[in-house]
């Protein structure tokens, strides 16, 4: 085990930090959020140049030989600066879904535009506000002469507003399939709105949407596992965002307490507030520990064990994050609930993390389901963390 950064990881982190300092100071961020798009496409080009869009992909599929750790490094730093670019939705979830599902001959064509930043993708999977993991798909794909016709409705498509292409899940004869649907295909109706943290999301209605045969990703009927995998990747990405937001909120609050005076003394002299801060630190460090545990789980071959680890991370970090965010606001007092001050925006980000891709309780239930029938005796402790050799991520650049 090794919890320290490699040199390559360290320089990746430094590079994201530099970007955020230069391009994403809070006031600039707030102005950007007030624009229609809510994000700057020029930033995306920078992400591509710096290699971040392929940071979580193996080299043989055109990536940089990284994995969830590298994605987490990027997402943690982006979350510290409250960046709202669709990194998680396109560069993590959509990219991982394609890398997992696409046939070797499709892969390059689908991934290249995502990795070089010319195209942004979004997974359009969920169909009701309540869906969490595996919705019973109502969207359907019908075989046509030229390809497929898609009909259905998708809600809360993360990063939907910026997307050039949607990865639309639909049921066909064979099972669940995933189709790459250009956003401006006739019959695709997109309604954009804002998520709590300013991220742009969309609802899609697909009515008789005609796509070519090549829009089908994978062999057809085989998409369920890949979608599940990509969403687990997304959940861990959210957890990384949470850890970044928690840590930032914690230390901003610490600094505030040391300067803000009340009753003639600075607030940091009040023991009750010191202890609250201590509790926040406890939650933050345990959340980070859990994030590492969740990243390890992503590599597990046994799907139940993977889900169990991912859900454990989501349930724990979702709640811990909201606690830290809410207490950061509380310790700030009135200014904490204003739009013009940064700390409330961390709470919003943490509220999104808690609620997105399944609530804490839904993940708690999934955790328990995945554990049913598990050999506790054998699994006690760390045994269950052992990844299967076949799926271990490549670590060619590891120190």
């Amino acid at each position: 085990m090794d919890f320290d950064f490699s040199d390559v990881q360290q320089s990746l982190q430094d590079s994201v930090k530099r970007f955020c300092e230069r391009e994403y100071p809070f006031e600039k961020r707030q102005a950007l959020l007030r624009t229609e798009a809510g994000f700057d496409r020029a930033h995306w080009a920078t992400f591509a140049e710096l290699g971040w869009l392929g940071a979580g992909l193996a080299e043989e599929v055109g990536g940089f030989g990284g994995g969830p750790i590298e994605n987490a490094i990027i997402l943690e730093q982006l979350a510290r600066a409250l960046v709202v670019a669709p990194f998680l939705s396109s560069a993590v979830i959509a990219t991982q879904a394609i890398a997992r599902l696409a046939l070797p001959e499709q892969r390059d064509k689908l991934l290249s535009p995502l990795l070089d930043g010319t195209s942004i993708a979004a997974l359009a999977h969920g169909e009701t506000a309540q869906h969490a993991f595996a919705p019973d798909l109502a969207a359907k794909a019908t075989k046509t002469k030229a390809g497929y016709r898609l009909d259905g409705r998708k809600v809360f498509v993360l990063g939907g507003q910026a997307a050039d292409v949607f990865l639309v899940s639909a049921r066909d004869g064979a099972g669940e399939s995933l189709f790459a649907v250009p956003a401006h295909t006739p019959g695709v109706e997109r309604v954009n709105y804002h998520a709590v943290d300013g991220r742009r999301v969309s609802d899609l209605t697909l009515r008789g949407v005609e796509v070519e045969a090549s829009a089908l990703i994978g062999a057809g009927g085989d998409a369920a596992d890949a979608i599940d995998y990509a969403l687990d990747y997304g959940v861990i990405g959210l957890c990384a965002e949470a850890v970044g937001a928690m840590d930032a909120a914690l230390w901003i609050t610490r600094d505030y307490l040391k300067t803000r005076k009340q009753f003639g003394v600075t607030l940091n002299t009040f023991q009750a507030l010191q202890h609250r801060m201590a509790d926040m630190l406890v939650e933050t460090e345990l959340a980070r520990s859990m994030l590492y545990r969740g990243i390890a789980a992503l590599a597990l071959e046994n799907v139940l064990e993977r889900r169990r680890g991912v859900s454990a991370a989501k349930a724990q970090i979702g709640e811990a994050g909201f606690f830290v965010g809410a207490q950061a606001v509380q310790l700030h007092g009135g200014i904490g609930v204003t739009e013009e001050y940064i700390v409330g925006h961390y709470l919003k980000r943490l509220a999104l993390v808690r609620g997105l891709f399944g609530s804490s309780d839904q993940h708690l239930a999934r955790f328990a389901e995945c554990a049913a029938g598990r050999n506790e005796e054998e699994a006690a402790g760390l045994r269950d963390f052992r990844p299967a050799p076949g799926l271990r991520r490549r670590r060619t650049r590891r120190r």
Partner: protein, 393 residues
């Protein structure tokens, strides 16, 4: 001891419920039950309907237009108002400045202001907090200098709720800079239209506008707008802040929220973990309701120990009910959902999301209610008070 409602109180409650249902305009009720902000017009219409019955400000003495209801009856009336979705009236006027005026105001002030409050003709806001004087109110700096028959007021107020719709502000100002902090403060009534008054919105994390900064630059306030004696303002403010403390639990609001939640989340309640959280909330609310009743019913032992509990726990429950609603809504609870009345929105409103009508407002409430444990004495301040005043620590 008698822990049940009397037949008379039950009858009172039935009567008021029936009257409210018959008289509250349906469109106003619908907006209220959906959690939209009450527009000034809604408040005017409803307050005037109540005022015609003599019920606009039940807690006021009958001679000033109040009722002779018992505190318990007033509480029952509140429960019915909130359950029906009636708009919240101008609390700054009804609950805060009104009692100060009829207790300490001049006859001229009483005549000038009280009837217009009862009939929702004058809306009020409270000018107490200042930057750098949050929980430590006595350190306020806004000063008022006597100049002929006017005070000239200069300073800045903040966290001023509803200043954007208010006609008048009641403010604490420093009239004697030499005196010790509490001693040199006066209580002034300031016309919001007077030259030198400028209101700047403070948008809050619900992306709404309910609080403001109010800048006062050489605002001339007639001396007749001084309430009571000069430099005695602190004692009027204390009177005001301890007034109606039993209401600070806001159980009627939480009860109404909980009812809404149960209506729209019926399906989600099949999930045992979610149902348990709702049950725990309801049980905590039941306990708090009875704590309120103990204070209202003037149980001797409850007056200190219990009253201090109400604000603290009440604020927590208001947060919890909104968070549960957001959770029940799933993804729809994560969508920014601007108020369709357009009232009080920010200058850059988000587009309306395609979510069901019942989802409206819950996310905004969950966010804004982070403030319930901050305003009116934060929960940390409440614990200080309990430790010192109740436990003698």
């Amino acid at each position: 001891m008698e822990f049940d409602l009397s037949e008379a109180d039950l009858a009172f409650r039935r009567d008021k419920r029936a009257w409210i249902r018959a008289n509250l305009p349906a469109d106003i009720a619908e907006r209220g039950r959906r959690g939209f902000h009450a527009t000034r017009s809604d408040v005017e219409i409803w307050t005037r309907l109540l005022n015609a019955q003599g019920w606009a400000a039940p807690a006021w003495p009958a001679e000033y237009g109040g009722t002779a209801w018992t505190p318990l009856q007033r509480y029952l009336f509140q429960l019915e108002l909130r359950a029906a979705g009636a708009p919240v009236q101008d609390q700054s006027a009804m609950e805060l400045v009104g009692p100060v005026l009829y207790t300490f105001g001049s006859d001229a002030q009483k005549r000038a202001y009280l009837p217009k409050i009862l009939n929702a003709e004058t809306f009020w806001c409270q000018g107490f907090s200042e930057p750098n004087a949050g929980s430590d109110l006595a350190s306020l700096r806004t000063r008022a200098v006597l100049d002929g028959d006017c005070y000239v007021v200069t300073g800045q107020k903040t966290w001023t709720s509803d200043a954007q719709r208010a006609d008048m502000m009641f403010a604490l100002v420093r009239t004697d800079p030499e005196a010790r902090p509490q001693a040199g403060i006066s209580f002034l009534l300031i016309d919001m239209q007077a030259p030198g008054v400028r209101v700047r919105p403070i948008y809050t994390i619900d992306e709404g506008r309910s609080v403001n900064e109010v800048f006062l630059d050489d605002v001339r306030v007639p001396c007749k707008n001084l309430v009571g004696e000069a430099n005695k303002g602190w004692s009027y403010a204390k009177f005001l802040l301890t007034n109606e403390r039993a209401m600070s639990a806001e159980t009627a609001h939480t009860r109404a929220d909980l009812s809404s939640l149960k209506r729209f989340a019926a399906e989600k309640l099949a999930d045992p973990l979610f149902a348990a959280k709702v049950s725990r909330l309801e049980i905590d609310l039941m306990a708090l309701e009875y704590a309120v009743l103990r204070v209202i019913s003037a149980e001797a032992a409850a007056q200190d120990a219990v009253a201090s509990v109400l604000k603290l726990r009440g604020a927590e429950l208001r947060q919890r009910v909104a968070e549960l609603a957001v959770e029940a809504l799933g993804a729809a609870g994560l969508a920014v959902n601007p108020d369709p009345t357009g009232h009080d929105a920010t200058d850059h409103p988000a587009p309306r999301p395609p979510v069901p009508a019942y989802a409206h407002g819950w996310l905004a409430r969950a966010m804004f209610r982070r403030a319930t444990t901050i305003y009116g004495g934060s929960n940390e301040i409440q614990r200080n008070i309990i430790a010192k005043a109740v436990l003698g620590l």
